[in-house]
């Protein structure tokens, strides 16, 4: 009797577990299928393409070339220049976005007047699609009828219009400014959310103990914001490394190769040169660089030390 009852309980538990498992798998299945179709399959296809001679104008020759495409890409005229451009771009935008985002978040958290208005204003760039933002900034920096030239000229700061996007240094600065403008709102909101979680008593206690605002920021605020800082750094590094749309609209990679990042050449190899093998190799190299950065960040900012 006892054995039977145990057996029945076991079967019932098994059935319950089975139905729970089916329900669980059924629930996550759509997401898994979507990810498999749009992430996993393309990823493995990219690996396969990167190891074949896959040039659309030579459809008869798709031989396996192993790491040949990677070697050709690394030896290519653009690789090291674009790698340098990409790292400079990523680091510049990252630093500026963090500084600007933190400044705005601190202002919004300070309880000073104008909170609602500033919130609305800073959210606008975030809500604008990148291509639209790129076109807007291209018009602002336009050498013949751009708003920036108009303003500087009216104020007497410049004597003649400057061709911002035709100069390799100014063009780089222009795309960095546009990028920072676009990305700062999200970062500011993330930092603001983090700031709201810091108990006010900590700052009050620090103030009573005679700590300066500067010291309080680095001893209290920054440690509390570490998890968010990590998220921001990882996310903004990804965005910076993979930037393409803004460059496509604003400068077309020029003048020369001045604003051509690695992502730009992944596009150019694939769609302009029709070399899918090279394009896939560039994309995978970009992914590896990104992975290396993420691992580095995780090492530098240890999660267990955050709390």
């Amino acid at each position: 009797m006892v054995n039977r009852s145990r057996r029945e309980r076991g079967v019932s538990l098994f059935r319950r577990r089975s139905s729970t498992s089916i329900y669980g798998y059924g629930t996550i299945a759509p997401a898994v299928i979507v990810i498999a179709l749009f992430t996993i399959y393309p990823f493995f296809y990219a690996i396969s393409a990167s190891m074949r001679h896959l040039v659309l104008t030579m459809p008869y020759d798709q031989r396996f070339v192993g790491l040949g495409n990677f070697i050709e890409v690394v030896k290519s005229y653009y690789f090291f220049t674009s790698l340098k451009n990409t790292l400079v771009y990523m680091l510049s935008t990252l630093i500026l976005v963090v500084i600007c985002g933190m400044t705005i978040a601190l202002y919004l958290n300070s309880g000073l007047p104008g909170f609602n208005l500033v919130m609305i204003i800073i959210l606008i760039p975030w809500a604008i699609p990148t291509v639209v933002a790129g076109i807007t900034w291209k018009l602002i920096f336009h050498g013949s009828y751009g708003a920036l030239n108009g303003a500087l000229y009216s104020l007497g700061i410049i004597e003649e219009y400057i061709a911002w996007l035709s100069n390799k240094y100014l063009a780089k600065a222009a795309v960095i400014i546009a990028h920072v403008w676009k990305e700062t709102p999200l970062v500011a909101i993330l930092f603001l959310a983090g700031l709201k979680t810091i108990p006010g008593e900590l700052h009050e206690a620090a103030m009573i103990d005679g700590s300066s605002a500067f010291k309080s920021f680095f001893r209290i605020t920054v440690p509390f914001l570490k998890p968010i800082i990590l998220i921001v750094i990882v996310y903004e590094s990804m965005v910076g490394l993979a930037t393409f749309d803004l460059l496509y609209v604003m400068t077309g990679g020029g003048p020369g190769d001045a604003t051509s990042l690695i992502g730009w050449f992944a596009y150019t190899e694939t769609f302009s040169f029709l070399n899918i093998g090279h394009g896939a190799a560039v994309s995978l190299i970009l992914a590896l660089i990104l992975l290396a950065f993420i691992m580095l960040y995780l090492r530098l900012i240890r999660i267990e030390e955050m709390y």
């Binding site: 040039v55 659309l56 104008t57 030579m58 459809p59 020759d61 005229y77 336009h142 050498g143 013949s144 003649e160 061709a163 996007l165 035709s166 100069n167 390799k168 400068t251 077309g252 990679g253 020029g254 003048p255 020369g256 190769d257 051509s260 150019t268 769609f271 302009s272 040169f273 029709l274 070399n275």
Partner: protein, 439 residues
């Protein structure tokens, strides 16, 4: 009540089936997919409406893409096998698209197309041919011309337009000195502008020994003292030393140059000839009537001749004979002569000033009058006779073109010497040539 409901449902289903069956009796029209770059969309749509009226069994699905993205979008479209039957094409893309197996020779499927060759200038036939086969019928054919603002030239104290590049510099400096304009020259040198390299090529053609390649497709432009080196050096000096050319030229596409000239900011440029019609159109230009065509400055005054045409895709040939037949009807309507008239080609010439692709049209008084309204038919014909087909048309030309535009920028901005930039471009050409022709 239940029986009545059942009866009503039964009747509804029967009538639905009969209606659906009845519809099938009417033959569905053949649907063709036409892919174009965006230009005067309303005119294209009106042409297609006429075509559909004349051919009730054919429906044309028209899509257009910006010219700047056209090549890249088409590559994606063909690779993903998005239905495309007839496509706008250019002499730059012809060999590449054929090699990729995206388009087919028109004359292989419609031998009657060959008859049209008799009526084309040589450069037009050549622009639409590959391996001796005709790949399309013309949308338009045109030449790169030198355009000048007549009033500005006169105000600077010159009786006529410059005839050499040295004179272009002299007249421009005079304009600067007199305060007529800050940068007399503006060019379409934006890196995304497909005409950019062709503009430089047209300048190279204007000089003695103005070639880019020899008969075996070896680059000769990188040789010391070549016409290309002289031209790139001249452009660089115009941008950086004499400052007669607007540095914004490096960001200017065709449309930007047209707009800037139309507001009187610049006096000289090189554009494809049809832009002269836009510049002298009172509805679009503040200075309509002031812009004139001059022979390309230089020593030989030769220039680039180009053609845009309608191609048949490989995908269309796989859809069966009825669709193929419909494609021919569409291509012939758009680029050929039907009912004794090149309706669409002529309309582009008359209404938009696009270049004449049929020799017989030069005898058409209405066409002559239309050209003379905004240009000079005699000078146009003289320049057209000096039109040379683009050199280096190979499957890898588009890739080389994209690379070379960036090299030109480096030379123009002084990052590289003209000879260094041209050498890099020649090396790229040789690398691509070796990869393509090793078999």
């Amino acid at each position: 009540m239940k029986k009545l409901s059942m009866l009503l449902i039964f009747l509804f289903l029967c009538s639905s089936l009969l209606w659906a069956g009845g519809k099938e009796e009417v033959a569905a029209p053949i649907e063709l997919n036409l892919l174009a770059w965006s230009y005067s969309v309303e005119t294209v749509q009106s042409n297609l409406e006429k075509f559909e009226r004349d051919n009730p069994g054919i429906k044309v699905n028209y899509s257009d893409v910006s010219w700047f993205n056209f090549h890249d979008v088409m590559a994606t479209r063909f690779t993903s096998k998005t239905p495309t039957d007839v496509v706008y094409n250019t002499d730059e893309f012809l060999e590449e698209w054929d090699s990729a197996g995206w388009i087919v020779p028109l004359e292989d499927y419609f031998p009657q197309a060959v008859e049209y060759k008799k009526n084309f200038p040589d450069y037009v036939t050549e622009a639409m041919s590959y391996n001796g086969k005709l790949y399309g019928l013309p949308y338009f054919a045109d030449i790169f011309i030198f355009i000048y603002n007549e009033d500005m030239v006169k105000e600077a104290g010159f009786a006529g337009p410059p005839t050499t590049w040295k004179e272009v510099t002299e007249q421009s400096l005079a304009m600067k000195k007199k305060g007529i304009c800050t940068y007399p020259l503006a060019m379409q040198f934006a890196q995304k502008e497909g005409w950019s390299t062709m503009t430089v090529t047209s300048m190279v053609y204007s000089l003695r020994n103005g070639s880019l390649f020899d008969r075996n497709l070896n680059p000769v432009f990188a040789k010391s003292g070549s016409a290309a080196e002289r031209i790139v050096t001249w452009i660089r000096e115009s941008l950086l030393d004499t400052k007669i050319m607007d540095l914004n030229s490096l960001q200017m596409a065709e449309i930007d140059v047209v707009k800037a000239l139309a507001t009187g900011k610049h006096a000289f440029t090189i554009l494809v000839k049809y832009n002269l019609a836009e510049l002298n159109n009172p509805a679009a230009s503040q200075l309509a009537g002031k812009f004139k065509i001059a022979l390309m400055p230089g020593e030989t005054h030769e220039t680039v001749g180009t053609a845009r045409f309608y191609s048949l895709t490989k995908m269309a040939t796989e859809r069966g004979p009825e669709v193929l037949d419909a494609c021919w009807k569409l291509i012939e309507f758009l680029g050929g002569i039907t009912d004794g008239e090149a309706y669409v080609v002529r309309r582009w010439v008359l209404e938009k000033g696009l270049g004449v692709s049929y020799l017989s049209m030069y005898e058409d008084s209405e066409v002559i009058d239309a050209i003379n309204k905004w240009g000079d038919v005699e000078l146009e014909r003289e320049q057209a006779l000096l039109g040379k087909i683009k050199e280096g048309m190979t499957p890898f030309y588009p890739a080389w073109d994209v690379f070379t535009r960036a090299e030109f920028h480096k030379a123009f901005l002084g990052e590289k010497t003209p000879s260094e930039a041209l050498k890099a471009s020649a090396d790229k050409w040789n690398e691509l040539k070796k990869a393509y022709y090793k078999e």
